[in-house]
């Protein structure tokens, strides 16, 4: 926290952003299990479907876009609580709010770090799940790109829920209740993109919509996240 604790307001926004990003990445790389757990969860959920529903390759290829997307969504959801939890518990969050730096930028950097440690590896690992579920090779590009954009939106929206529930002892189920309804549009367009890729249709429309959600999220979500964090910490 050395970079942030300086009381001078002269640190630029870019420096602030990269300082928080670096710190959060460092912290999560020190706790490797938190880094790996969502990925294992992602893999396990995708394993449940062939075993629980049907191992038929044609059926699996049909449901693969949705299954991979739902698994990625759930993996993100489970990791959300960690965005603010440890900082809240040890009082860092309070110090950040008291510091003269804009909370919004700090929140955006934290979300970015969360995405880089969950969404990015999930997206990079998704072709493996695609192969497990007999997704055609032609759809892999759509899968990875839609997950790259989509998981960032999921992190942004999810951070609002994480901020709202960080002050609660039993935030676990509540955060899913708050965040899942807002995840539905991302899921629809994300898996829509993969389905279009499977069918050989152009992806541009779906990816543009996901990109629009991302643009809207980057602009507006930090406002809501910082308001949520402030409410939770001061309340």
């Amino acid at each position: 926290m050395a970079e942030l604790c300086t009381n001078s307001a002269e640190i630029s926004l870019g420096q602030l952003f990269s300082a928080v990003l670096k710190r959060d990445l460092l912290l999560s790389f020190r706790r490797k299990s938190d880094l790996v757990n969502p990925l294992i969860f992602f893999l396990m959920v995708a394993t449940l479907f062939p075993l629980g529903v049907s191992p038929e390759p044609t059926f699996l290829a049909d449901v693969a876009p949705g299954v991979v997307w739902v698994a990625a969504l759930l993996a993100t959801l489970l990791s959300l609580d960690g965005i603010f939890r440890s900082d809240y518990d040890d009082g860092t969050l309070e110090q950040v709010i008291l510091s003269p730096q804009p909370l919004m930028v700090v929140c955006l950097a934290k979300v970015m770090a969360h995405w880089m440690t969950t969404g990015l590896p999930l997206a990079l690992m998704s072709p493996l799940l695609g192969v497990m579920l007999f997704l055609p090779m032609s759809a892999m590009f759509g899968l990875v790109v839609s997950l790259l954009i989509g998981t960032f939106v999921l992190s942004l929206i999810g951070a609002i829920g994480a901020g709202l529930t960080v002050g609660l002892k039993r935030g676990g189920v509540l955060i899913s209740l708050l965040v899942l309804p807002l995840y539905i549009p991302v899921l629809i367009f994300g898996s829509g993109a993969v389905q279009a890729a499977v069918a050989g249709l152009p992806l541009a429309g779906y990816l543009a919509l996901l990109g629009a959600m991302l643009a809207l999220g980057i602009v507006l979500a930090p406002l809501a996240i910082s308001a949520a964090v402030r409410i939770s910490v001061t309340g």
């Binding site: 709202l164 529930t165 509540l174 209740l177 708050l178 807002l182 809501a224 308001a227 409410i231 309340g235």
Partner: protein
Amino acid sequence: MAGSNWLPRWFYQLASPRWCYDITGKLLPGFLIAAVLLLVAGLVWALAFAPPDYQQGNSFRIMYIHVPSAILAQSCYMLMAIAGAVGLIWKIKVADMVAFACAPIGASIAVMALATGAIWGKPTWGSWWVWDARLTSMLILLFLYMGVMALYAAMDNETTAAKAASVLSLVGLVNIPIIKYSVEWWNTLHQPATFTLTEKPAMPVEMWLPLLVMVLGFYCFFGVSLMLRLRNEIIRRERRSGWVRELITSR
């Protein structure tokens, strides 16, 4: 505020729990009578006198419950979000209470809209539910109401709960235009909007006039239930203040 007299005095008074309790107490009988009259008249007119649909026969009559409840579920969400924003910005306690009172009413009306829609869908589309854009976005609306209610329930501190729920309902506000335009953006099974401000309805007068009466009746009913809940909430949260004690001892 000295220079701006364009807002009436009672509007400012609504911000004080005590005055709000008095004003809603005066408005309540009027809204109750209007709601009963409009709903009874509208229902009798719609169910007995409106002409049957040339295609759907009499099954379309559920529209007279379905459309008003769908409209109201969205209006109620907007009111909840706006009241939440007012509470967040100006820290008005009554606004927080309005938002709190809106959530359960809105959730039950959304359930009613979805249920009547399902009952209507069975004879018309042949299935209770289709994953069409309008239905899905209405379902999301219900989930958002439930999320807001869960957040209220999880937080013990009323002020914090009100602020947190306001942020959540403001975020959820993005869903409202999606519901509204879902029938235009996606060419789906659900029919386009029944009422628009700019165009004449596609239905004949004798069909949409009772619907208008029902919509107004639903709004009045919403006013009644909101005021009842709000008054309860005012009494509950202000139970330590002098005027509430006086009110209770005078009964």
